[in-house]
């Protein structure tokens, strides 16, 4: 049993960071929030329980309400930053015009000026900002970030973390960050430690 009596509520506009050693189940926690792993109990996102959903329903719900930022961005290097972001909207069924307009606006707001260059040529920080933009384009209720600064140098780490933790207030969503990095975690409204299957909130976080 990986988790035992795990309980976490995250309202809109609030951020939480989960820390823990490797293998403690941080990524599994993200998988639970995405509905890819179905634990005993319930996982509720935007007032709907994921554990009882069928695959199709779950996929629709996930695309409508959840966004994810990965450690390595998981962007397509051949596509431009703009296309990478717009692609997520297109795949979720947004019209072409709206998808590109929203993507362009988001990238400007998030500070990716070279949005029309292939993503493979961007810096690590720019790539991760693009990843954040992509996660936000479908206006998710829950934004998940899996080691979002793990592959960045110090300067980029700070700027991406700053950007990320502004998101809940600015875009009206909840943010759950899984990280090793104490300095990143400290920016969250609440900080948890995942150890032995238990989630312990650090007081004064």
């Amino acid at each position: 049993m990986l988790f035992d009596g795990l309980d976490l509520r995250l309202p809109i506009g609030e951020s939480a960071a989960v820390m823990g050693p490797s293998g403690s189940g941080k990524s599994t926690l993200i998988s639970c929030a995405l509905g890819l792993v179905k634990p005993q109990g319930s996982v509720t996102v935007a007032d709907a329980d994921l554990t009882g959903m069928r695959r199709r329903q779950l996929a629709r719900h996930r695309s409508r309400y959840t966004g994810v930022v990965f450690q390595f961005g998981e962007l397509l290097p051949e596509l431009t930053a703009l296309e990478n972001v717009a692609l997520a909207a297109l795949l979720a069924g947004t019209s072409r015009k709206d998808a590109y307009a929203d993507a362009e606006r988001l990238l400007v707001e998030l500070g990716v000026p070279r949005a029309k260059r292939p993503t493979g040529t961007l810096s690590g920080g720019e790539r991760q900002r693009t990843a954040v933009a992509r996660a936000l384009i479908n206006k998710p209720a829950l934004l998940l970030a899996d080691e979002p600064t793990g592959a960045l140098d110090d300067t980029n780490r700070n700027s991406v973390a700053e950007l990320l933790f502004k998101v809940p207030k600015q875009w009206e969503c909840a943010l759950l960050v899984v990280t090793h990095d104490e300095q990143v975690a400290m920016r969250a409204d609440r900080v948890f430690h995942l150890a032995d299957g238990h989630l312990l909130e650090r007081s004064g976080g």
């Binding site: 990524s27 998988s31 996930r62 695309s63 990965f70 051949e78 692609l87 072409r96 899996d146 080691e147």
Partner: protein, 727 residues
Amino acid sequence: MTSAKGAPLWWQLFRVGAAAGRSASAGRARFVALACAALAVSIAVSTFTLIFAAYDGRDERGADRTPRFAQSASDPEARALWKPAFDEVNNTQFSIVYLAPLRADAPLPPGVSAWPEPGQAVLSPALLAAGRSEGIETRYGAVAGTIGEAGLASPGEWLAYVRPGTDLVVPESMRPVTRFGSFASLGFGEAMFVQPIRLLLVLAAFMAAMPAAALSVSAARAGSDARDQRTALLSALGGGWRTRAVINIGEAAVPVAVGALAGAAAAAMTLIRNTHLPIVDFTVARADAQHWWWGVLGAPLAAMVLVLLCVVLMHPPQRRPQGTRPRLAKTRLPRWWPYLCPLMVFVAVRGPELAPTPSTRLLIYAIGVGATMLTLPSLVGLLAAAIGRGLAAAGRRTGRSGALVAGRWAAAWPGATARLTAGVIIAFVLVGQTQLWTTRNTGPAVQAQQTVDRVGSSIVLVSHPRETPVPQGFLHALPPGTEALRLKIEPKSGHAELNGPCEALKRVALPCSPTATPVELRGIDPRLGELYSWDTPAQGLSARQTTDPQGPLVVLVGQSGQQISVPAVKQAANAHLGMSVTVDTVAGSWLTSASMQQHLGRWTLLFGIFAVIVIVIAIVVSNLAEFVRFSRQITALSVLSGNRTIYLSTSFFALFMPLLGASLIGLTAHYWLATPMTSNTYSGGSELSWPLLAFVLAAATALAFLVWLWGAYGAVRQAHNWRPAAD
């Protein structure tokens, strides 16, 4: 060396490899590829064995049926008379042997159980089946039975033992025989019409072994990025080549074993029953395969070892890459290289016209075709990049995400598309060229075909061995309405004379006069025109009416434009004229020799088709693996957006469209490159086989469809198992 748990280390490493194979991203494509490779290698090795087995068996049975000759017919040891000759069915030549017993205890050749009656024949089953349409069952008299396999070079051999009617036996033209069975084969029958063994071995090496080796390499390297990483890791951990080899073998063992098993099943079939090869219409005798059973059954084992060896050798120690950015290949072709391609197509298509001699024409053509094939991939690469950019732009304009992603990918990595497309185009052209070269006729054969097209069998020539009257029995046995003339050629002047009764002369619009009348060649009956140009020295022709025609060639003519049944004439000739009488249409023998050449050429076609299938599998496999690697990039996105159709659309643009496009380009390229071969520029006579091309196009489309769905399915399956894993 054993571990704490007791299992030997190599076994644990082997199992690590096997587990890695199951979970690898391009695992299924590689599984199928390795299995196909093992099967292909097994077939290639079996082919070598069966070639030796078939030639060995043919020699052995050839020796068994070779007669021991006596000095003369009066030799007390002489017990039978023997005479080999030729005949043909469907323009295909075969051996017939005339036999006549001298004594009651006359020996029989192997495969023949009893002496046929005079005027009867014993035929091989394949000849009996193939010659039905030409009346083979009555051509030499009644069929008394069939020749057993022990008496045939191969089960599909065409052979006839004919016992002529008593009055037709001419002992002085036959050789006395004491018994059958010699140390070496005399080489009549099938042995006279087959390729020399070295040629088949060369074909097998180039068109079976080499493509199978290419497939093995491609399969071994499919989805190699993850394994290269593992190899580097193992090296860093201190694992030697043995460790790496055992893991790699463990990963490949199951698919290779599956392929080898399929190969073993195919090999076993050759031991159980006679194996008929399509296209070349050759049957491998079960007995021959059984004689070489160790080679036949060893082939799949050898294939297994060879493919596994290839897997090990294809994963050399990796140097850790410097940096993470993809680097450009070090060796690059010059910028102008792709643009040579259209020029080379031009050289191949138009060049031969400019050459002065046939051999230079051939050389220019071969250089043109070869250079086109060499330069094509880079041109396709350029086009792929351009089309990729266009596709991406269109995808962006229309909001089609599949077109956008596939277009950007093709533009960024044109090499992948070029390999896929160029490979298929080259395969297409190869099949086409093989077919063209095998149907290539030399000049006289082309003219012969034209003659046959014009007059066919409305005029039939029968050689009459002696300057004696044609027996009335023969004339009566001819199809109704057939008239006979005889052709005589003055040896010194080369002047030809057609003589015969007035009825016959009138049939071909010749004057009836008892004195030789020169014939005006202008406006002559077309049948005579062809006869004049093919069977006389063209030194003038005259006609003479006579009741006692003379000349070594009996010319049979039907009523105007009516075709005479050649099989019926042959039957009449065999019954009344004697042994080995030649019956032919005008120019027909030229066609027979061309047809025999084509028959040999079909071996090239058979091997060519095998080669192309194997090469296409190799190309498709490496591209499927590449596609799965590429589609891994969109996995996270597609899972999060709940959109799986993107795989169907990217696979459509990345695999289906290039494959289908390649087939169409290949067809066009082939059509163009074939122009000099099909026109009379080069030597003429090759025929574009539209059914073959249609079949190849249909197969390519079906393959494209399969690859499209396979690619999409592989990617969807990968997405299904995806989990975020930054831990």
